[in-house]
Amino acid sequence: MTRMDAVWIRDYTAASALGLGRAATRATLEAGRSALAPCRFESAALSTWVGEVAGVDAVRLPAAHAAYNCRNNRLAQLGLSQDGFAERARARIAHWGAARVGVFMGTSTSGVLETELAYRERDALTGALPQGFEYRRAHNAFALTDYVRRVLGATGPAVTICTACSSSAKVFAAAQRMLAADLIDAAIVGGVDSLCLTTLYGFHSLQLTAPGPCRPFDRMRDGLSISEAAAFAWLERPSGDTAGSDVLLLGTGESSDAHHMSSPHPEGAGARRAMQAALQTASLRACDIDYINLHGTGTPSNDAAEARAVHALFGSQVPCSSTKGASGHALGAAGALEALICALALQAGLMPGGLNTDEPDTSLQVDYLTSNRRAALARVLSNSFGFGGANCSLLFARADGARAS
């Protein structure tokens, strides 16, 4: 596997249950506070906890793009509005030229909630969906990417990656390839997934939702907590403007489980292969990694498979944690949200402890952190694994610590 060209994360922001913007996200992680709460979403009658973002429905899209209105694009708009991300993106698009800026977004359900609601209002006689139902711009997976490129004014290559819970990790890899090929000078990457009944009732049908807040890597873990998030990053090739404290994407690894649609490979073979590929493309070894942000959903089988894969590659030495006890599982947005948590961790020297884990499962042979640990971090790994066995592992580093000592 050939070494890849590094990518500079020049800017980033997020809106999730952890908070709106970088400072709020970091403050929640530093406080060790979980954003999960009993599910009160829409008409869902399920005993489970979720990470709902407050204020999404009060967001108004710009009038010119009103046809894109759906909860997912409202959450996207809320995310773009944080930390001045959209303003700086527009200025940089003007600098590079709109056609040289690509947009790569990950989502699993995009605006399906709109369709769920429309099905309650079908014409009694014809079965038709109500007037004004907008499939292409408010339901389809591309609706998110199309909204982001239009509202920011980027006209370069654009695509939605839709590989369930690894969607918005894989966008970093796709954007890296396009930057390396010099088809673009900058990429807006990210993930947006929002609460909907399909995922709430769907994960419930698979008996994968926890009745309380999720407890990743706990001996008594009993499922995941669904959440929602919008997370965005601006990527460029590193330049003389890249500061030492800036974060680089050094490696990407992708693999397939080839095992089952909704259960991970029991030995974590695909997860291991993805992490190995991330190390190889970065020309680094396992001992060069300071912290791993786990996929760590809190389902019994996911955490067991991931722990085996991590142990096989890293032994029990590398500190790791899942931040889903704090944020919940943002599904198609989880990869991007956790990539940005890794960027915050590198810049703040903070390994966020996993929350809700009262009794770590000792059969999982990894150094699982249950409280925050402060340490200078140089290189970290972020794992995202999805249904269909779609795995992605991303390797990030501080620019001043990118190469192993």
Binding site: M1, T2, M4, A45, A99, S108, V112, T115, E116, Y119, R120, R122, G127, A128, L129, F133, E134, Y135, R136, N140, A141, F142, T145, D146, T155, P157, A158, V159, T160, I161, C162, T163, A164, A174, R177, A180, A181, L183, L197, T198, Y201, G202, F203, S205, L206, E254, S255, S256, D257, A258, H260, M261, S262, G270, R273, G386, F387, G388, G389, A390
Partner: protein, 260 residues
Amino acid sequence: MLSAHVLGVGVLGPGLPDWPTAAALLRGESPYVAVASALPPPAALPPAERRRAGRVVRLALAIGAQAVADAGVCTGNLPAVFASSAGDGDNCHEICEALASAERSISPTRFHNSVHNAAAGYWSIAQGCQAPSTALCALDASFGAGLLEALLQLRAGAESVLLAAYDVDDPPPLRAHGSVSDAFGVALVLGAAPQARARLQLSFTQAPPTRLTEPALEALRESIPAARALPLLQWLSRPMQGCVVLDYLPEQRLQLHLTP
């Protein structure tokens, strides 16, 4: 410039049951008659998965199998790019109907089949392939987005890549809001190393897309996003030095310089 060699082709669509038949039609050797697409059961899947596979999965697996057989490549370590303009409308319809009912009971299989990468997942299971796979969506630009991603994976070091682009028409009431008239899929095995087969080089252009002279085939190209690949297929049916332009995003199209 991004480039690739076309090692194998698979196609399935209305009046186009396989690549040899489609190639003869595209060369004008026989008249095109648009009969509804017939999707074969996915023979490569284990029985349990076979029963669960809907039309989208059947189409994707059928064209993928055609293309790898035509290319004569081993699938055990072949990366795969799947692209579709929409999701699985049959599955989405069933879930939305269930959620609109009092019970809201969704079957677990329906739910895990609802992911856009269901076909990619079933393909990797059927082939026992742990190489990377991805699933893309870009509405009408989906074939172009998939082709770009496949060529970029070759540039990044893959020896060969499977690209499968496919669309299946929605059931009512979604059908009134979608843009797909029937099932159509195209798969290509693309290779990096020089081969005896046709070579394509890709660049962006503002030029309009290449159209097909046969009106019924041109209507097919316009009515199904995956069929935007038809000008490339027509060229592959009778390779000669030339250039075709494929539809992509509203702001740009993909120009392919072709060498037999």
